[in-house]
Amino acid sequence: MTERKSPTAVLHEGPRALSEEQVREIEDSDLSAVLNVDIDDVIEYVHKDLKSLPDFTTLYRRYLKQRWDVYDLDFSQDKIDWNEKMTEAERESFMAIASGFHHGERQVEIELPVFMIGASEEEKIHIAAQIEDEARHTVFFDRFYREVVGLQGADIMEILDASFPWVSETFVGPFGLLAYQADEVRRNPYDERARVRYGTNYFLWIEGVLALSVMKVTLSYARWRGFLPAYYTGFTATCRDESRHVQGGMRYLQDAVRKDATMINEFHATLRTILALSGVASREIIYEPLGWTLGEVRMLFFQQLRRKLNDVGIDLAPDIEKMLAQVQPVLAGG
């Protein structure tokens, strides 16, 4: 970690092109080299292919090259940083943000299998890989909370239960909706309209907006301070995995709308519900110890949403544009 620019510097830089060398570094780094990859470059990389989305077979081949072993991470330095170097305020802010991810990874793992049933054969392969990714991310957070934070539990659910007090009440908005949408798809797996509504919440909102925003906040803090090297490595590798998930999800949504233009109505209806839920917070999250302000997080949030929509070429209905202007979405803990 040689570069120590401020966590929020990228907000003011705007979109930028990655050099071939930067792309190679992101795509080809093994786990030990991921520590040197800049998280801002990885988030930029998520958007690199959105204008000409790769097919599912290409994404699967990338997965095979980029998969990593979560048990290769050594959290011993992270434990020292957490207990001896980070302040109480930093730890509290970190927990308030990361716990949403701890639970979010579990949710996107277990709610994805039903979506595979109605998918094309190539997409099924991509989704199978994504489920494995999400399972690995769940284990990553389980290890982090056990070995660094020091939570105690006999199994994965007990660790989830132990971190749940840090999860905001508003988490149930997008993630409860996803659970119920998964049940809707389970009952009618070939209902393309239900699948588009599910995909809008899962791939655009949860992965493309919420996840990338939260990743950026905690990872840029870790890079800025030079703390938590195993967290930075594992979660940056997670972000690289998410780039495939977001690109695959955007590919699915784009194809669905191209095949049937009325599908845009399902997309819009889902966004209306999500935005109706996103204008309120149940807890005050203090971002300053991690180098952010609430206003900067909101800016990041909107940037992520706008870039996905613009790159994929999906227009919003006027009333949704108005909702976006009116609400001030806050991170729903994940």
């Binding site: 949710q107 749940f164 999860v167 009440e169 508003t170 988490f171 149930v172 908005g173 993630f175 409860g176 909706l177 659970a179 119920y180 949408q181 998964a182 049940d183 809707e184 509504r197 209806a269 889902t270 209306r272 519900t273 109706a276 839920l277 309120v280 917070a281 149940s282 807890r283 005050e284």
Partner: protein, 157 residues
């Protein structure tokens, strides 16, 4: 005073009173005022009704499935009653949960994960419309679960 039996008329009456009173001070503590402002706003305008089912009530309580029908109107609980398996009812949203999960909710399991982990499921009604008021629903589910009642051990335990 004896606690009413779960899914009895007396329990439904107690639920109506509890919903009218709203979440307890302990439930409100630690959450931002803007969250409760939204709760009160939705409560004031909510035009819908819930039928909250239990799929497998113990035989000593009543036949299954049974539903607690809660109808909202004008910021009040306009109706709160039990409907049995052969009694028709009308509700905007029909949800159902197993008895063990109702009992766990009563014993302190949180309402947010009761939804998020799909212990209670939407069986009928527009999902996207239902979720526009999900924070209101979750808080009310917590209130309903906390109403004192007799929950017998399920058969076979």
């Amino acid at each position: 005073m004896t606690e009413p039996k779960f899914y009895s008329k007396e329990w439904a009456d107690a639920v109506r009173d509890a919903l009218a009173a709203g979440p307890s001070a302990s439930a409100r503590a630690g959450k931002l005022q803007e969250y409760w402002d939204l709760f009160e706003f939705i409560k004031g305008v909510y035009p819908a009704s819930w039928a909250l089912g239990c799929r497998d009530l113990p035989a000593e309580l009543r036949d299954s499935p049974a539903y607690l029908v809660v109808r909202w109107g004008g910021g009040q609980v306009a109706e709160c009653q039990i409907s049995g398996p052969d009694e028709p009812f009308d509700a905007s949203y029909v949800l159902a949960m197993d008895y063990a999960d109702w009992k766990a909710l009563h014993e302190g399991y949180d309402a947010q994960r009761t939804v998020m982990y799909r212990k209670i499921l939407l069986e009928h009604g527009n999902l996207l419309d239902f979720f526009k008021a999900i924070y209101f629903f979750v808080e009310c589910l917590g209130v309903i679960g906390a109403v004192p009642a007799y929950y017998p051990e399920p058969a076979g335990r």
